[in-house]
Amino acid sequence: MKLNSELLETNAGVLLVATMLAISVGGLVEIAPLFLIKNTVEDIPGVRPYTPLESRGRDIYVREGCYTCHSQMIRPFRDEQLRYGHYSLAAESKYDHPFQWGSKRTGPDLARVGGKYSNEWHVQHLIQPTSVVPESVMPNYPWLSATPLDYSDVADRLRALRTVGVPYSASEAEYQANVKQFGPEVAETLRIDKAQENLVAQAQAGNFDGDRAFVSEADALIAYLQVLGTMVDFSKLKPEDLVKYR
């Protein structure tokens, strides 16, 4: 049998393998080097895994499909920097599985929304966006502040994230490693054995939805929104150092 187009066109199996080989070249050339090039993820201080409460908030963000209208990726363009703040770094989503960069902005980018509005604004805005932004087309999410957060399985969720590389600690040795890397305060929030306890404590202390009676889904979501983009202290970084990572 000659190796020509007839061979491909008359053998479905050969065609399938050849097609997959041809397509994988594109993937290999575009994606594989990013895992090898050492500058892909910037080596900067400050980025930490989410606390259990923030992590559950992120789950709700994904569940409600927020990413379909909101990106979390400020591109290095002047107009975006003026509106949203410093461009996003790869390092800032290194503990995101999956990342929430999104691909479409019906609403604004949320990569640096943390600290921009008060908790109360977020509660009002989630219940009825037009109450604070009259021209908004965002749907109402009134159930978030009325629904108790299910955090019974939060330890399992952290364990799952741990298996894909997020440094939640399951042992004393891992805890000590976190103390070294993130400091004792953060390391404490990354303990899988204390996940539920830490979640409730953060919700009580933060009182994100303005109601301490129970931990609501809004508590978790707002805790997550309020930390977005706030982990890196850009006043301590030189702009040209970030340039040199690319």
């Binding site: 090039i37 050492k38 290095p76 604070v132 040209e240 340039v243």
Partner: protein, 306 residues
């Protein structure tokens, strides 16, 4: 080939399917095939100019396309083309163009800024998008605020002070309003009396006997309202306690209440539950000093600056 076509009709690939199904083998149009070659040439040129092929732990940085910018030490520095370097240069170029205005803004005292026509128009045009991006979500476009949540910035009533310095301080450091709840310290009758007194202070209709009782409570150590709102109930801007004698309401929606009973209920609600809201975020990490000064003047100019 052309002869073949004339003599024997179109060439086929020679494949025959289902007895009679054949496939023409026409040559690609010349414009298409040359266009294809051109894209290959384009790709090679592109590799040379822009960062491209990965090599080990690095990549081919590209030539010709170097971008020069100023580093933190004030020296010029070049780096191979990338979007971050491009943004840094563009930001610095734009800053050079705006520099005369921002320098003047930084050097002039507040009250001189609004008297300088050129600078004043710069504040208006540059302040508008800044206000829209950062302030309007709460204070609403135009600065009208929202009763029950966010103060009006376009009137002459100020919780923390309407001077340039106070506005600047509010934007820079943020604010956090607080009033303790009185649900446990006072009984329902006392709260009703206090609410009546508060309403009477601003000329609203209230039961005179209840208001008199409320007045005593206001100045007593049981409720100790005077401690924050002052003996004259006009509030203290240094701690952000409200002036209760004017007709401006932020937390209790008195103007929106249908009748006297509704007004009373609104005020009672605030006294009972207290307030732990009125959070103004801090902007010093998000905006730079010049932007904050510009916004200060912009907000002051909205109508009510003192």
């Amino acid at each position: 080939m052309a002869e073949n076509v004339q003599n024997q009709g179109p060439q086929t690939t020679g494949h025959v399917w289902d007895d009679t199904l054949q496939e023409y083998n026409n040559p690609l149009p010349a414009w298409w095939i040359y266009g294809f070659y051109a894209t290959i040439v384009f790709a090679v040129v592109y590799w040379l100019i822009y960062p491209s092929w990965p090599i080990g732990k690095g990549f081919l940085p590209g030539v010709f396309g170097n971008i020069t910018y100023t580093n933190a030490e004030g020296q010029n520095e070049s780096w191979h083309w990338n979007t971050r370097a491009k943004l840094l240069r563009e930001t610095q170029e734009a800053a050079v163009m705006q520099k005369p205005y921002f320098d003047k803004l930084a050097s002039l005292p507040f009250d001189k800024i609004s008297k300088d026509p050129e600078l004043s128009s710069f504040v208006t045009s540059a302040g508008k998008p800044l206000f829209a991006d950062n302030c309007a979500a709460c204070h609403q476009s135009g600065g009208g605020g929202k009763i029950g949540s966010y103060p009006n910035l376009a009137d002459d009533n100020w919780i923390y002070g309407g001077s340039y310095e106070k506005i600047q301080e509010t934007i820079t450091k943020g604010r956090h309003g607080y009033m303790p709840p009185f649900a446990e310290a006072l009984d329902a009758g006392q709260i009703k009396a206090l609410a009546s007194y508060v309403l009477s202070l601003s000329g609203n209709h209230a039961d005179a006997a209840l208001a008199a009782q409320g007045k005593d409570l206001f100045h007593s150590n049981t409720a100790a309202c005077f401690y924050c709102h002052g003996d004259d109930a006009k509030g203290r801007q240094d701690i952000g306690s409200a002036n209760l004698t004017d007709k401006v309401w932020l937390w209790a929606n008195v103007p929106g209440a249908a009748d006297d009973a509704g007004k009373l209920a609104e005020v009672e609600k605030v006294i009972t539950g207290g307030l732990s809201k009125g959070v103004m975020p801090t902007w010093e990490g998000r905006l730079n000093q010049e932007q904050i000064k510009l916004l200060t003047v912009y907000v002051h100019e909205l109508g009510g600056g003192k």
